[in-house]
């Protein structure tokens, strides 16, 4: 079967587009970076893609609150097309700033119909400081999320100033019940971070790092899987290499984040 086509959005301060495209390509997709203005100019472009990615970055410099301005631009220029894209059998992923944009568009968690209501928030980190560090994540095995199939834990970096997941108790309960909470921050020993810094780097309620919509086809996540495609991107690779050498094990080539993108490609097989 032909490679699925992934559209990687760019423009206005999005900045993780190239590595996101690279990740999809390594995973076996045909990925293209397209400027938002080119989509607005030619809206039917969306029709030929199966996967849409909102990459990380600083759209509009996070001014007025992360993700808001880009969400507003989409809302007033591309909303219907975005909705009809979602209504097809498509996949959508938002990473970091992309997650923030999706939240502000109401694409995730999208608990009520019609979708488009802002139901959760990604607030300033409780440290009120940008945090770039590697975190450990546990995947909710009961989630129907397409992107995390077959993954139980992930070691990937976060890099954000506003990733503190906040929602009402009611929404949190619903997300839990629906298994829409896809990833939790955990300690290296595998137990929940329980809000403890730096394991939970931002203060997120219930250590939430990623959520999906009810269909499992749309996921938003704060950490960056596209930054751990190769083994030698990880923070502890020189240590693990040494360990492998002494145990005469093979040194891996790929990294843990790659499976997220492979799962997207796999969905179309």
């Amino acid at each position: 079967m032909a490679k699925p086509k992934a559209l990687i959005l760019t423009g206005y301060g999005i900045n993780c587009d190239e590595e996101t495209r690279f990740s999809f390509e390594i995973a076996g997709a045909h990925a293209t970076i397209i400027h938002i203005n080119d989509i607005i100019e030619n809206k039917s472009l969306l029709n030929s893609y199966q996967i849409f990615a909102f990459p990380g970055g600083f759209s509009y410099g996070d001014d007025t609150g992360s993700g808001k301005a880009l969400a507003n631009k989409i809302k007033y220029n591309l909303y219907e097309e975005m909705m009809s894209f979602i209504n097809r059998d498509t996949l959508m992923i938002g990473i970091c700033n992309g997650f923030q944009v999706m939240v502000n568009l109401g694409i995730v968690p999208a608990l009520t119909q019609p979708i488009g209501n802002v139901e959760v928030s990604l607030e300033h980190n409780t440290t009120f400081r940008f945090q770039c560090r590697w975190v450990d994540l546990r995947i909710n095995l009961h989630s129907n999320c397409v992107f995390t199939k077959g993954i139980d834990t992930l070691h990937i970096p976060v890099a954000h100033g506003e990733g503190n997941f906040v929602a009402s108790q009611h929404i949190i309960d619903t997300l839990s019940k629906n298994n829409q909470i896809v990833m939790h921050y955990i300690k290296p020993d595998g137990t929940l971070a329980q809000g403890q810094f730096p394991y939970n780097p931002n203060g997120s309620m219930m250590d939430i790092a990623a959520i999906c919509d009810t269909t499992g086809r749309i996921m938003g996540m704060m950490p960056h899987p596209e930054r751990h495609i190769y083994f030698m991107q990880r923070d502890d690779w020189t240590y693990l290499r040494e360990l492998s050498k002494r145990q005469q094990k093979e040194i891996p080539q790929y990294g843990e984040g790659l499976q997220i993108f492979k799962n997207a490609v796999e969905y179309y097989k």
């Binding site: 206005y12 808001k68 507003n72 890099a159």
Partner: protein
Amino acid sequence: MELARYRIEIYYTIPDSRGTVLQQKLQRLGFPVSKCIRTDNYLINIPLNDSQIEKVARALVQPVTQNYTINKPYAPSDFRYVVEIGYLPGVTDNVAHTTREIIEDTFKIQCDPEKCVFTSSTYFFWGELKIDAIHEISLELYNPLIQRSLILSYDEYIKNGGMGNAIPVVTLHEDTKAEVVSLDVPEDELIALGREGIKNPDGSRRGPLALDMLSLEAIKKYYRDIEKRNPTDVELESIAQTWSEHCKHTIFAAQLDNIHDGIFKHYIKEATLRIRREKGKHDICVSVFSDNAGGIEFDDDYVIADKVETHNSPSALDPFGGAITGIVGVNRDAIGFGLGSKPVANRYGFCFANPFDTKPLYKSKDPNSKMLSPRRIMEGVIHGVNVGGNCSGIPTPQGFVYFDDRYKGKPLVFVGTVGLIPKKIKGKSSVHKKAMPGDNIVMVGGRVGRDGIHGATFSSEALTSGSPATAVQIGDPITQKKFSDAIVKEARDLGLYHSITDNGAGGLSCSVSEMAREAGGFIVYLEKVPLKYPGLAPWQIWLSESQERMTLSVPDETLEDFINLMKRRGVEAWVIGKFTDSGRGIVYYNGEIVFNIDLHFLHEGLPQKTLTSTYTPKSHPYHEFDDPENITEHFIAMVKRLNTASFEFISTQYDHEVQGNSVIKPLQGKGKVNGNATVIRPLLQSTKGVVFSQGLYPSYSDIDTYWMAACSIDTAIRNAVATGCDLDKLALLDNFCWCDSTNPYRLGQLKEAARACYDFAVAYKTPFISGKDSMFNDFKGYDEHFNEVFISVPPTLLISSIGVVSDIAYCQTLDFKNAGDYIYILGITRDELGGSEYLAYMGETLSGERYIGNTVPHVDTIMNTKVYRVIEKALRAGLIASSVSIERGGIALAIAKSAMGGLLGAHIDLQAIPQENIYRNDTLLFSESQGRILVSIAPENKTQFEKLCKDIPFANIGQVTDNSLIRINALNGNEIVSVSVIDLHSAYKSTFSEF
């Protein structure tokens, strides 16, 4: 002040971490703040109706956690004081710009970018606060040079009905004509003209031209003999910019004693020429000293460019603005390299005074002229690079902080950017560019205001009370990100332009005249330059340093495509003139010629200065103290010095993972210890890497600047080699930050440092590819008792290294990996404690003042080269389990870092260390002898590793242990250090724990 129609206040309905973090900080600083709440305010002066403004408010609010009011104060109950911070007229307000775009997107309208939207933040405080305290608190929140504050008590706030709708619109009512400046004036008037600037009609002066008599006489002669008229103000200001120390490096170009061609040509450039000649076909240089950055070969298809800038003076006045402008500005050096390289990494380096020093400095005898405290400067600078780097999507892996009280008057802020560019684009070299006669001069990016006028001439002067506040600008990384992507990722590869350069110091006046050297001349129409607000005089438009602008030369054939592409990418671009081959630069303003100069005179007319220097290395008193019987306490104290402690809080707030290119990270091992080199992989599909490091030893300058420079070069190289780079693939960058550079002694120190640059670069065959100097880092003012002080930074030379790693799999980190591994030291330890961190520590501990000493480390390049070759081979063979270059703090710090990195113990025997004539344990542990590397080796690799080492001094000095203790045996066999790695680690991390 004008009033806005609408004021939207956004407040949190849940606890806001911004308020909490601020309250905790203020409490730490001693203010009894019990609670703090912040609101974000948008002042909107657009004729919208009620439902429209509601729609705007809804676009600005996060409905889950926030709510808003419109034209109604938020008014929380019973607070003590409220402080509102907004910008002064004309200061870049990025959030306001985004808000305007939101409004334009929503209603499909166009609004005036400078008049419609303004933002402010309001802080409500609770607690037993007096008015004095709230004034002090407000100074923590804002900088009077760029912002305004309004403080109200609760009662005043209620009476006033909130904070009001005043907006800082720029209103200028100045004459906007060019003027003729007469040079036929008495000598004292001419001196005043050079020093204080052109006279305004009211008798005040515009600010320094920084032209000395020699230059003024040359200008006078040119106008009298050649032009046969007096210059216009546009011309004179422009010449002053072009000839400034900042742009022309007049001191490095001056005849210094018997060095007729100047120390830059004689030492720095000549070193590179010689190395390139000697390396022949192994030459790595592609473009040196001629472009915005220097370039070396990355692989067969790509070039890597590097540039390190300083932004010291602006950062002293507005640390945040100065630093963000610095980093975003040096990004443009990468974007302006060749036809445009893509920024792939940032570097930083900060020299600060002790941030815990609370004694104030004053610019004048006026108590209101207080300088920002070292802590404020440090926080602001760190934050500026944070926002600039992170928002631009450029990783910032490599950097350092260094502390010395002599940076209290002026901090040093080094910022660098590395770019990647294909060697060929459309079949032509991308590194060489040429603006052609007939090409259109196109300016892209932001509009022009009065920002940064006199920036270049200002930084050529010492910081005194006359420094203009207009020298401060605020960067806008998103505007730049937009054109950076549009140019480097699209227009460049479509071949839409012939040449490109950055608009930095001197603004258009410098960028256009620089590019005109390629074409041969230019004509510019100043009225075509887009302004932020009316009222700018032609000289201001020509010289403005408004940020985020580049100048390109675009031929007629591709002009339409270029302009269209920019438009589609949300980038503003304007044609402002044409390049010509007339040999002259001509500028019109509303039909009148305001500038008409021979370009050769503009570029080459600056008379060479003649300077003389005197130099004798200083000898310092010898302070005798006993070799401590137990060194444990000193060992712990030495890992938590300002200059050795963890600066993890900086590393983790700078995104070093973006672009996915990070290989060797700023924090290494389980213990997250700051390494001294980092590696990136700029092309994800390639296994080649690029290593960055640096060397900097200002304390050695107190003894001998020759060896200071030698050690800086050796360290920059050694750090890179220890991490995995081949010596043959390394290049260097120099940044001289000197002081009082008209003083013959300082010039003597400078000459010695430059001479060492030649000697050691040549010895290691590591060429200089780019550099920048900043010669007057002095502060003239008053101390806390209003006694006059003159504080000069210690002569500071930053040597940055950049090199290509042939396979990133050869790279290694500093952390011990496994108990049982053998610890080796390579290289010889000598009695070289002069200028060391240990002597400074001992002096401060024993006498309250640092000791300096005299035995500054020397550099043996022949021996060191052998050591570095061994490391290269051993890393390639995969024999090394951890590797760290020994620098500040000596062997002790290297052992501590490797142990803390691996969270493993070590048992060391000082007797085993290869050394010369050392009888003291502390000297062995803390001497900063160059050329040494500490590695750990798995037992099974021992024989093979030792075989590689047979021609160099080396020794197995101990073993990695899993008992989590660092134990060191003295020369007499006694145990003199025994410390738990966990305790050491928490000491290491404690120093900056409140930042």
